[in-house]
């Protein structure tokens, strides 16, 4: 039996070690980033972010709650405009109730209140409700797009995408 010694000089040893550490570190970093990516599912089963909300003539004047449970949207028709309000309270993100007798949105979590036009007037809410983008499709239906948000305090409610004339 012959004993063959692998001879490494100092320089070779360090380049060997360096390659080893780089490989090890990148393997760990790769696994960590895979684990991170794993926490974001490719598909989720939440409602679509945009939807067709019927025709403008489907809505009476006032607050309409038909899309509240399915899409989290109030349709409000007032003063010749139809707008789509987010039903998320601007205080901490709960869902207010529409109180028809008192003509206001009232949040059960901390008591924020909003007028029918979305402006806050009581409780801790720091700003009015948010509007979603709303538009008419070529065949006359209403399209609500929740990925675009229009805020009163930024002066965005004058934007023609934040309401439709009715």
């Amino acid at each position: 039996m012959s004993q063959e010694r692998v001879h490494l000089n100092r320089r070779e040893f360090f380049s060997f070690i360096t390659v080893g550490w780089v490989a090890f570190t990148s393997a760990i970093a790769g696994l960590a980033s895979l684990a991170f990516r794993f926490s974001y599912p490719n598909v989720n089963f939440e409602p679509e972010m945009d939807f067709i909300a019927g025709y403008p003539q489907d809505y009476e004047s006032g607050v309409d709650e038909r899309w509240k449970n399915s899409f989290g949207v109030w349709m409000v028709k007032q003063e010749g405009k139809l707008v789509a309000f987010s039903n998320i309270c601007t205080h901490l993100g709960c869902v207010p109730n529409w109180l028809p007798a008192e003509l206001k949105f009232k949040c059960p979590c901390h008591g924020s209140g909003y007028y029918m036009n979305g402006i806050n007037f009581e409780g801790p809410a720091p700003r009015p409700l948010e509007r979603y983008a709303i538009s008419l499709t070529p065949n006359g239906t209403i399209k609500v797009d929740k990925t675009k948000i229009y805020r009163w305090e930024k002066g965005q409610w004058d934007n023609p995408n934040s309401f439709i004339e009715v």
């Binding site: 926490s39 974001y40 599912p41 989720n44 939440e46 993100g93 709960c94 979590c109 990925t147």
Partner: protein
């Protein structure tokens, strides 16, 4: 031959000797071996200063916290036998734990224990601060303790959702919106507006930290499952590991600090 008691007889059996690798703790060497030779006790200092067991100085708050953590682990494991983390069953299983299961108080023990643990952790931190026990060489262990405090609060937070009632869902909605406000990582936080290239929004409600926490845009069934795993497996594993480090460092840093 002198009089031999039953205890001496038992100590000489092979079973006893195979379990305990040292003689009776009648001398200093054996008493040290009791601690050093035991996998659980060896995290503990072999010798204590008299002041280390002085209630007026330590309040035993760290020990109480650990005791409550153990109680929560045991009651939590028992609760897991009956609780299913799905939207269909979660709420009813919590009711069942009170009504359909012997010892309906089990869930209350777990809940009150959780409250108590948060209180004892704070008091422990207060004591350590007031006695200056965070100073070198114990500064590393203070850091470990701060992480353990945060993890304790996260255990409370994740456990809060599991009853799946109105309070739970809206409390977690509000809590998760804090993640939304994280700088650069949450879509409502400072810096998110800068991470935008033309119409392409880099940090949005579908890829920020809140989405990662809830596995969705709002608190739904995926969030329930995620919080359940975090509460029952992930965070307790990290906490258990850090508790071991924490105790071991108490020993390595010179034992419990003493009055000057």
């Amino acid at each position: 031959m002198s009089k031999r008691g039953v205890a001496d007889y038992i100590r000489e059996t092979q079973v006893w000797k195979s379990i305990f690798r040292h003689g009776p703790p009648t001398n200093a060497r054996n008493r040290a071996a009791v601690v050093a030779g035991n996998v659980f006790l060896h995290l503990h200092p072999i010798k204590l200063k008299k002041s280390g067991v002085q209630l007026g100085y330590t309040w035993c708050m760290g020990g109480l916290t650990f005791f409550i953590f153990l109680a929560l682990t045991v009651t939590g494991l028992l609760l897991m036998f009956y609780y299913r983390p799905t939207a269909e069953y979660a709420y009813n299983d919590i009711i069942a734990l009170k009504e359909h299961v012997p010892l309906g108080i089990m869930r209350e023990i777990h809940r009150w224990g959780a409250h108590a643990m948060v209180i004892t952790v704070w008091l422990h931190m207060f004591r350590v601060f007031m006695t200056g026990s965070y100073k070198p060489p114990r500064e590393f262990n203070w850091g470990v303790g701060v992480i353990l405090l945060v993890l304790t609060l996260l255990l409370s937070f994740t456990g809060y959702l599991l009853p799946w009632d109105q309070l739970a869902i809206w409390a977690i909605t509000v809590g998760a919106n804090m993640a939304k406000a994280t700088p650069f990582l949450g879509h409502g936080g400072p810096g998110a507006a800068f991470a935008q290239i033309g119409d392409f929004v880099m940090v949005s409600d579908k890829n920020d930290v809140r989405f990662q926490l809830l596995a969705g845009r709002f608190v739904g069934e995926p969030a329930l499952l995620r919080f359940y795993i975090l509460h029952c497996v992930f965070i307790p594993l990290v906490v258990g590991t850090l508790i071991a480090v924490h105790f071991w460092r108490v020993r390595k840093d010179g034992g419990i600090s003493a009055p000057l």
